[in-house]
Subunit: 452 residues, 2 copies
């Protein structure tokens, strides 16, 4: 049995390893145009920051490890075509094209950074995007020789790089075209992030929302600054464009595989695409949101791993459903942890819920304890049914704990009333007597149509 | 309307404040034999440690604050009798007895430390128990003038004091009569605690399980050491007996109020006792375990607050049910966080479940990140139904996050299979790509009778 996997970062690598364990006699091959396979791209901002010195720490499994477990990895091997009728793929390796047969094909082509059409974006060597290991190596090298940086985009990667640059003493201007840092969360919560970051003493960065870069400027192919829509020019020796990603679906699309409404490859719960014997997983695949039941495209490493595992099981003939995602995420920028799960209020509204919400601002521990931090916690529920829809938290590291506590409530489709019966752990070193999450639920309960 | 509350530490103070807000015209009176009212006794070990310098930080509301909100607080006022037929209580204030009328009575008499019958236990001034603010002040003062200490009992308070003494440079021997530190958790988990604590470099303490103190020894009323069942003598200048607590139910019992099978005051979900117009809440009251449905007595400050609030609401005529507890707890000893929720395997077995369990030992973050710690996580489920029963975690601070994530799963009565669909937050700085909790659930799923 020939099992071919296109792409090998997270879901592809996971699928390969899993399917080989389940079907030891199968021929498992990974084709990727990348120079590396099986690595943690989520760790790149921390490599750039210098949290660890060797980028090889990011490698989960080396090509040699794959080889020794009987999996063939073909690096820098671009797949040009999928030919479903003959069950072949067409691969370019070193200027030579060859057909490779598959019995089962797993598409794990991932996503790629969006490069917006900004004047000069392709004219200078020191404008980067961050996706692959080389990107991380190149950005770190350039950062270490820079005094001023520009980041275009205030999502996860943008703010993670802001931390990295700031901690390395590089003065950084971050530009976000929307009116908020972290556009995926609700506006009031993003304002809290902005205020926390702006309150850092002697901060060496500037945050610009509602501002776009209109032009990259430089000399002799070397970037020297940017022009922004605020009419000003900002000097910089390095710019990183973090304007989001889009799924790599061209190969699937050309092969006649159905693309979903989100623009990613349509898959069922078994990670099967619309064409038999072809599966898709990871950042190139569409997901189902467990709370809304809607199709979404939320590309994340943790999801990619689960989908890769699930695809592998089904390829091996073991029934496995991947239920979907809650859109749970956590990240950090300097003094601020940002976490969320489920639907934001604006998403809930758009989908057709009648959302009610509450924001509480509380200490993360009992106030008399040392190192007590603050947490702002927003919880969203449906007014009519009382159903818990989501939570967002900004503040100390404890923000992450509260959001994870909500994830299980969403999986269980709990109402706010049910959730407010929760018995959370308490000790002065870990939380206030009544946890902020329960404060929030008690208030929110009164806003729903159910009595609490 | 006369509302009388006996006891004013956590649930009593909470109930008083809440009922006065709901019924501003009621006469609300708190009687307590304590010298303080409304304080965080859970914070005493951290006061002793010196995490904050002023014990008044532990006071939630002062008697003056109560007074200004129209609540009368009678300190050092022992209630001698409850007379339900005439709706009076008999109070001793400064050698004078007086009858005080109530329309509604809330019993919040709390619990008191057990003093085991050990030879010499009442003969020396420097043998303490820890419950009230004076205890904390006295222990801290004595600790600061001691080089060697003995702690009798290895539960929460015992290990919290071990941290306090150790951090203050006092060499401490801790004795636990059972075979494990933290007897409330499963044995294997307690072994992990012991190993972590014993692995601390240059540790200034000794841990003795299966060992009892047979005699306190001293001279002229001053303790100088203990004799232990290992046949050895241990010198010390201070000893703290942390041998557990028992509920203060004598007053209720004498008044004919029903005492539950656990030895605490029997209450229904509305915090009503068996006698009309009398409520009980906090550490003196029995609780229902949400997972097992059984009566339990797990005295904790967070529960006391919730019960106080619930009792107050029902006193005020607003229907409020207190569903029960999960037995969730967290504490810390030096390098080790210990958290649990739900049933342990041994409890589950005893109750009649057919428990299956798994222990995973994992990093709390992606291994390449700085300050990555380790977590040991035990999850327990019922083999037949697949129902999640409980979780215990020992290790870095991240242990607390995983246990809280499980609490909501227990409230939702999720199976392991359902829980394993969870979408937890992921970032290299916060968790591995696949969280230890999901690793554990995946393994546990296979041990249940349900396919996963």
């Amino acid at each position: 049995m020939d099992i071919v996997i296109i792409g090998g970062v997270a879901s592809g690598a996971k699928a390969a390893a899993k399917v080989k364990r389940l079907l030891p006699h199968a021929n498992v091959k990974i084709y990727t145009d990348d120079t590396h396979v099986s690595y943690s791209s989520c760790g790149l901002p921390y490599y750039i920051q210098g949290n660890f010195s060797d980028y090889t720490s990011l490698l989960v499994r080396s090509p040699e490890e794959f080889k020794s477990s009987g999996i063939d990895v073909f690096l820098q091997s671009k797949v040009d075509k999928i030919l479903p009728e003959q069950k072949d793929i067409l691969v370019s390796v070193a200027c030579k094209s060859e057909l490779v047969h598959y019995d089962k094909l797993i598409i794990a082509t991932g996503a790629r950074p969006i490069r917006p059409e900004i004047a000069g974006i392709n004219d200078y060597e020191n404008i980067f995007t961050l996706r692959k290991i080389e990107d991380g190596i190149n950005i770190r090298e350039k950062m270490l020789n820079s005094k001023k940086a520009v980041i275009v985009g205030g999502g996860y990667i943008g703010i993670e790089l802001l931390e990295a640059f700031s901690r390395n003493g590089v003065y950084t201007e971050l530009f976000e075209q929307s009116s908020q840092i972290m556009p995926s969360i609700d506006y009031e919560m993003s304002e809290i992030i902005k205020n926390r970051l702006n309150s850092i003493e002697n901060k060496n960065f500037g945050l610009h929302t509602d501002t776009v870069i209109t032009e990259f400027i430089g000399e002799n192919g070397v970037l020297t600054g940017v022009k922004a829509s605020d009419g000003k020019e900002y000097e910089c020796e390095i710019a990183v464009v973090c304007a989001g990603v889009r799924p790599n679906v061209e190969l699937a699309n050309e092969a006649g595989i159905e693309i979903g409404e989100t623009g990613a490859i349509k898959v069922n719960k078994l990670m099967r695409t619309s064409i038999e014997n072809i599966f898709a997983c990871g950042d190139c695949a569409e997901k189902t949101h467990i709370v809304s039941g809607k199709k979404v495209w939320i590309p994340l490493g943790s999801t990619a791993n689960k989908e890769g595992r699930c695809a592998a099981m089904n390829v091996a003939g073991i029934y496995c459903e991947f239920e979907g995602v809650l859109g749970s995420m956590v990240t950090r920028c300097l003094n601020t942890t940002i976490a969320m799960t489920g639907l934001t209020e604006k998403e809930a509204q758009k989908i057709g819920f009648k959302p009610v919400s509450v924001i509480v601002n509380k200490y993360d521990k009992v106030a008399y304890m040392p190192d007590t931090g603050e947490i702002s916690l927003k919880v969203v529920a449906d007014k009519i049914t009382g159903l818990l829809l989501g939570a967002q938290a900004v503040g100390s590291i404890g923000a992450d704990k509260r959001v994870n506590t909500v994830t299980s409530g969403l999986i269980g489709h709990l109402t706010v009333e049910e959730f407010s019966k929760n018995d959370l752990t308490y000790s002065p070193a870990y939380s206030p007597t009544i946890d902020p999450l329960l404060n929030a639920m008690q208030i929110l309960c009164k806003k729903t149509a159910r009595s609490c």
